[in-house]
Symmetry: C3
């Protein structure tokens, strides 16, 4: 539980560098990230490096006692490099170049760009790899930001053809069969005939698109590995980090993370809410706090990506500039957001940014300090957080006291399935990530800790396993489930496609039919104007749930738990296996999950009212109130911080019951 | 009244071909369409044909007693052909190529592509033109699907220049005058200066766009003729068919049909509803049945296109994959849709498709069989339909008993006027096809048979003639109307432009002023937030109608039938001629048409309540209930099938009164 | 107070030219504009001029006693010219050419096009510069129409690089510093490295975009000057005019006007309303009258641009063709619109157009005459207006009686700030022009005369100065305000950026802090679903106002006048300086402005109910009723025209109180 900050010495007069460092230390900040956008200052002309200013900056920060994360500057190649080469620029789906003038103007498939990345990273690492202030490296910045994973360049075309050749062992008929190219005479005679799946007259082959996505994701991993390998060589003992994003799944983060030590993400609760697919009522309700489960979902996701080691690299400190609307956070939220991250196991929460820049694109993005160098609200809350962390640490005797995460619910989230669901959503109101977060929300509403894990994860020790978005059959996951005696909840569309994006021979849920005897024989996607209620069967309380957007018709001898007026059944159970064969409204989904989880004796289920949320870590239990109504804490042990009644934006820390 | 099915032997193991054929026959299916997407299997490499598998498939189908429609594969040219030539690809309005990777990736103006079509069709026809299983040919597939009629390629530019040269007799000043090019200095000095009407700074000349549409439509006709001529040569006795689409008017279907024998269309009631411009309430109301008048409109339209001979080539058998949302049809609708087609005179209703494919773009499109080869709901309903057809046929003594269409209302629909109304709709909420269907609906709500005919059709024998969308003056139609003593109903905008898209010298309704003494001196288009009520004059019942979207101000000595509070008058009559000078809400339009048609003693008007609809053919009268409320049949003769009270999705067949 | 009309002799048979001229004179029309789209008739082939027809037309018009405004034809270069040169066409932001086929298909940066403009204007001016019928010249037509100011051509790129080199004195580091290019490594090493700010991966640098806008605006001014210089040389005594547009601010009109004598604009109240950002309720309310303040805003704006001399060059005479919907105006509105213009000081109101053309793009645009040459409603109202003008003139003894504008409120509108606010609106529901008009509306609702002026204007003599949209610090304006003892009202965002689009060192309102002691330390933009009420402090009446879209948090010792429940304060005053630190709903803004202006003893404030509006000119006071409810006149002097009670669309003229 440490605080950090993002800092851009190159953007300020050298006169104030020392004072900045001193103020950081005084504020309780221990980490500072620098350097990731400064290529034009590192190498102002081709091959002419200027490292002196960076040396001076590192010396000042290090002398002040700060630990530095140094970023490689490859998210913003300078103009002269773009002018030297015309095979660096990415191309969008419409075939237009994505030119120089902002950032991320490179294609991951460009070998030329990789050559230059290798060069600049080697130069930096060889110069500074042993600088005592540097304690970690960050590779590049926010891979994929501004929709930059899928590039339709000629470099990508060549790379994809080679990738296909490898995947299908140089057998083009294997590819044709796997993709079903006989449909519409889409058969290729050779890998060199393959095109990128854009600019077609109508929808291109979904299997083609899914494999292009796999290829593109792999490019991010190999690009990141190229940098990681160099940094490891020069700084073998330092942690390697990348700062991922929220609401972003365009590459498989587990693959990229394989070459890194710590996962981090950039958390902007208000900006992400405005960008999100939450409806207007939800956006209004949470406009000054962020949605209570959105950041938490990502904390749990990136803890899984980082195999336990994770940071918030950029924490929103006040209003941002880049969302459609940029309201001011409620006072106290910067502190609350920081603590929510710590409660989920963040090693560091680092604010973006130290001081608001008065120029360029993000000049309306607040910092801990205002452009006139006066402390802003975020600074006050950062300082409060720092002193509260100190208090908590003083009560921890072992490291585990503040870092141990309790295994309760394993939540399987598969990046590849997220792509496959987007390739062919079958219903234009179906957003697979939003739906996954909706299931996550239902779990979190009953107060359990959730670990978001990939399908290949070890699932031992969990009381419940939720299959959130696993559209593609997955042998490893199937084996894990077969050997588990946990409660298993399968969401709709589970295992409804093979890895090659075909319908399984036995229909959905494919090989999961070995776990639960049912078969999905028809599905339907439904416009937003449609919803239908289902009623609980054989129950004294006539609980009713509302189904929306998606229904599956199953063939089974199992009895459904709910039925609609037209006889359609919802929710099946076979021993420890539950199958949810529809999408539901959030409140209904909450009720259904609560009903299932309450039946699990191995779980401690404590429903959360309104905007109240809980999270357990080590010896602590946290309560956060995002909602407008005051909430009193449910049963809890000794209060360490805060009060029994939480107003909006307040938090409490208790001793954990376990 | 025969059933058929669309089948893709190339997509399945040859092992099950025989069983498939046997099951088709057992289901009561007599026709099977194959082959229209298989070019890559016919000619896997340039000039290397592989016809053996097709021969085996035809033999199996023919041996089973099935009649085959063989499709030419030109909707999906293979990759190697596209790689050979860069002058095949179509170009969209924004100037982007419409590349290989799905289907219909060719430009109708490409002479190169025509050469290759000529080659492949000649090869197929010479090989199989006399195969005993083949009873008909289909040319290409769904001309224009995915917005592929208007292509802005250099081939189209060259073709259009020649077309203009012909149309204006090599006199460029005639073109300049016709288009009014003096406006904004758009005058050309030579036909080679003409450009395509896209990528202009603001709206290009509407006359220019209309003529480009005429040119493009003509390209479809000549492209189809090229194939038809070859097929006639090798199969002089077989019927030639094309499968047209719903909600699609981008080319003049009568021109294409001139070279064919049977018109067919592909009927997807649920998909089309979701794609349509019906409002949300209507989409919700009919989401599982389709709109009660939408398929019927197309049945009547394509019966006119086929001069009486028409099929449904593709009938939706369950949920589809391609609409924004894809709900499951109400059980019974596949049967009802089939019967609605037969009631309108369809010779064959052919389901798309035999078995759901587990791969590629349409893997979520249901078939009569599921991907696991089990019968789906559609199969059950197809079988029921087949046995009911048999029952009906057993009661028919002459062919006319089940095929004669009774002449009641002639409904004039002009493709060229549809384009002219879209070129300059004057009101962005004005969809001319939707408005035409709205008038059709009003006619159908009073239970009359409607023939949808082109303006050059013979109109003798009809009790009523409705001019639905004839914006362009048409001499032939004017003569037909002059010589008719039928009731004539002129819709708004009738004859409001010359064939060259100019305002007639005497203003609208142009030469129709010889039939009714009024002149439209001002029009206005109105946003959806506007509507106004008009009240019936000189009537005991104070009926009020609601006007929307479009009003015309007329100069006339005739008295209007209705007036608004601000003095504007609606609906004029002069002898047998009615002029409706506005758009109305559907319910109001229904009332107005009912009022007019009730006054026609030559018509039997029986208003339909709710979702009930009627259609007469031969000795039968059909009743269909699309609506949720049960409906009892109005006065009718002996019931042959069904009951007196129809629940949603049910139908009844009676002996016809006539 | 004269009437005029726009006329296109080249579009009509020469047979009726004389009759047209005679009818114009009979209608009371004195001015006629011709010729601005006729290049293809002036020079049908390269270098082959045909001036005879123009000569004949001018002779006829002149002989009839009409005064001609002759337009240069450069808005519509002919096809042969576009074919000669590929360096004329403009390029849109997506990189696509904006081709020939409509109008304005040229790039202001094209030197080639300027050469040809120089040639054709010189030819015209030398031929006709002394023709006795010509009393004024119009340059080109509607600069910028169809979004044609910002062009992303290679010509623009070259021009912009030179412009930057000049602006930054050949010092690229000065540019890098001014734009803050260190952010994201956007630094250039040379002016030749600068790119245009389009097609970037994400938002390009706002300072870059603002300077590109300055460059583009400057191109319009130099392009206009090129023509003006030639016209001056050949017609030194004639007035030079350009016809500007409504709702259009893409170039600095004051810069263009510097080379002209009279400003004019093209006023289409109904079309502009439908195009505007008014909400649906407002669009419905004013659909047949136009918004009561929209034309008035532009009248006052262009009077300022023309330094007192201005016309309406094109006045809507009936329904138009080009808006999304084109309703018919309420009878009487053509007269009312004409008088509203005269009340604001228009020298001429000229109708567009004489006779509706039956062909080409605008064939549905009405004229004073219908296509069949019958007088339309607009003609009747023009004639009525002409005779009423005569009546009024008969009562004026000095010119000032009908032309003197009373100084009351100076309203500062800065074109450059309008661009800067659009470059980075910080809130996608923030339309800076709409907000400025909203403030204007609030002033007009209290019945004061408003002069809309640029920030460099002389502000002496005004009772109140309103700073409407001055986002950029402006030294000249600051000096004017410092030396003024007028009531000064500063809107939100005032002086919140430097001229180089940076945050002022002392934060907003920058150098205005020398006038009022407050500092904006945080801003927020808010979605439309948000609003909040603020209540008046220390007041007997608990007036409440509604804040929307934008709030500023200020640091000050001043007390706010209003406070929200969460403690945020609205509206500060320091001596004669008011600062409004938020956006408000229109009704609330009206109340707030009324409250402030009522406190100004130097102003005569008379609130207007409903759709009633007032304007004073010379010895007259005008009342107009745009609203549906009848309004009786407030206190007034002797009635000269009209009645005491005005129905919708009626007007009254009284003797002015002053
Ligand atoms: Zn290089
Ligand atoms: Zn060839
Ligand atoms: Zn030239």
């Amino acid at each position: 539980m440490k605080l950090g900050v993002c800092y851009y010495p190159e953007q300020w007069s050298e006169d104030i560098w020392k004072q900045d460092a001193a103020e950081m230390v005084a504020a309780g900040i221990e980490w500072v990230r620098i350097g990731e956008f400064a290529w034009s200052r590192y190498e102002p002309n081709p091959g002419e490096y200027q490292w002196e200013w960076l040396q001076r900056s590192l010396d000042i920060l290090g002398d002040a006692g700060l630990k530095v994360v140094l970023g490689t500057p490859t998210a913003t190649p300078p103009k002269w490099l773009m002018d030297q080469h015309d095979d660096i620029i990415a191309v969008d789906e419409a075939g237009n170049p994505r030119n120089y003038g902002s950032r991320r103007h490179y294609c991951f498939s460009s070998e030329t760009y990789r050559t230059h990345c290798r060069r600049i990273v080697t130069e930096m690492a060889s110069k500074f790899g042993k600088h005592p202030a540097i304690k970690a490296w960050q590779t590049d910045n926010e891979y994929g930001c501004h929709d930059t994973i899928l590039s339709y360049s000629t470099m990508a075309l060549e790379g994809f053809r080679e990738w296909c050749r490898d995947r299908f062992n140089d057998d083009i008929s294997a590819l044709n069969t796997a993709w079903g190219n006989v449909f519409w005479s889409m058969e290729f005679r050779d890998f060199d005939e393959i095109e990128l799946p854009n600019l077609t007259v109508t929808e291109s082959n979904p299997a083609h698109r899914l494999d292009f996505w796999r290829y593109s994701s792999g490019c991010v991993a190999s690009y990141n590995k190229l940098q990681a390998d160099i940094l490891r060589e020069y700084s073998p003992s330092l942690d390697l980090i990348h700062n991922y994003m929220g609401n972003f799944t365009d590459f498989d983060h587990h693959d990229v993370q394989a070459d890194l030590d710590i996962a981090s993400w950039d958390s902007y609760p208000l900006g992400f809410l405005d960008w999100s697919t939450y409806n207007e009522q939800e956006k209004r309700q949470w406009m000054r706090t962020g949605h209570p489960d959105f950041a938490a979902f990502h904390h749990d996701l990136y803890r899984g990506v980082g195999k336990g080691r994770w940071w918030v690299m950029e924490q929103q400190p006040g209003p941002v500039n880049w969302a459609p609307h940029n309201p001011s956070p409620l006072d106290g939220m910067v502190r609350l957001w920081s603590w929510e991250a710590f409660a989920h196991g963040a090693e560091v929460v680092s604010y973006f940014r130290w001081r608001q820049a008065p120029f360029a694109q993000e000049q309306m993005h607040s910092g801990l300090k205002r452009p006139d160098n006066v402390d802003d609200q975020g600074m006050l809350e950062a300082k409060q957080t720092a002193s509260e962390v100190q208090l908590l640490m003083s009560q921890s005797t072992t490291e585990a006291d503040s870092t141990h995460m309790h295994k309760e619910v394993a939540f399987i989230f598969d990046y590849v399935s997220d792509w496959s669901l987007r390739v062919q959503p079958q219903g234009n109101n179906y957003n697979p990530l939003h739906w996954a977060i909706s299931i996550y929300t239902a779990c979190r509403k009953v107060g359990v800790n959730v670990d978001i894990l990939p399908p290949h994860a070890d699932l031992t020790g969990y009381a419940t396993i939720v299959i959130a978005n696993q559209q593609l059959e997955h042998d490893g996951l199937l084996q894990s489930l077969k050997s588990s005696d946990a409660q298993i909840i399968l969401g709709p569309r589970s295992f409804s496609k093979t890895q090659q994006y075909q319908i399984p021979k036995t229909l959905a849920p494919g090989s999961l039919q070995s776990l639960i005897p049912l078969k999905v024989v028809r599905v339907e996607s439904l416009a937003d104007f449609w919803s239908d209620d289902v009623n609980k069967l054989n129950a004294s309380n006539q609980q009713s749930l509302t189904v929306k957007r998606w229904r599956e018709f199953v063939e089974t001898d199992l009895a459904p738990k709910y039925k609609s007026a037209d006889g359609w059944g919802l929710a099946y159970q076979h021993n420890n296996i539950h199958y949810i064969n529809a999408c539901l409204e959030q409140d209904s989904l909450n009720l259904l999950l609560q009903e299932i989880l309450l039946n699990n004796d191995a779980l401690t289920v404590k429903p959360c009212l309104g905007g109240l949320r809980q999270q357990k870590i080590g010896k602590w239990q946290f309560f956060f109130n995002y909602g407008p109504e005051e909430q009193s804490l449910p049963n809890h042990r000794q209060l360490v911080l805060g009060t029994h009644n939480l107003a909006q934006g307040e938090l409490a820390i208790c001793l954990n019951e376990k």
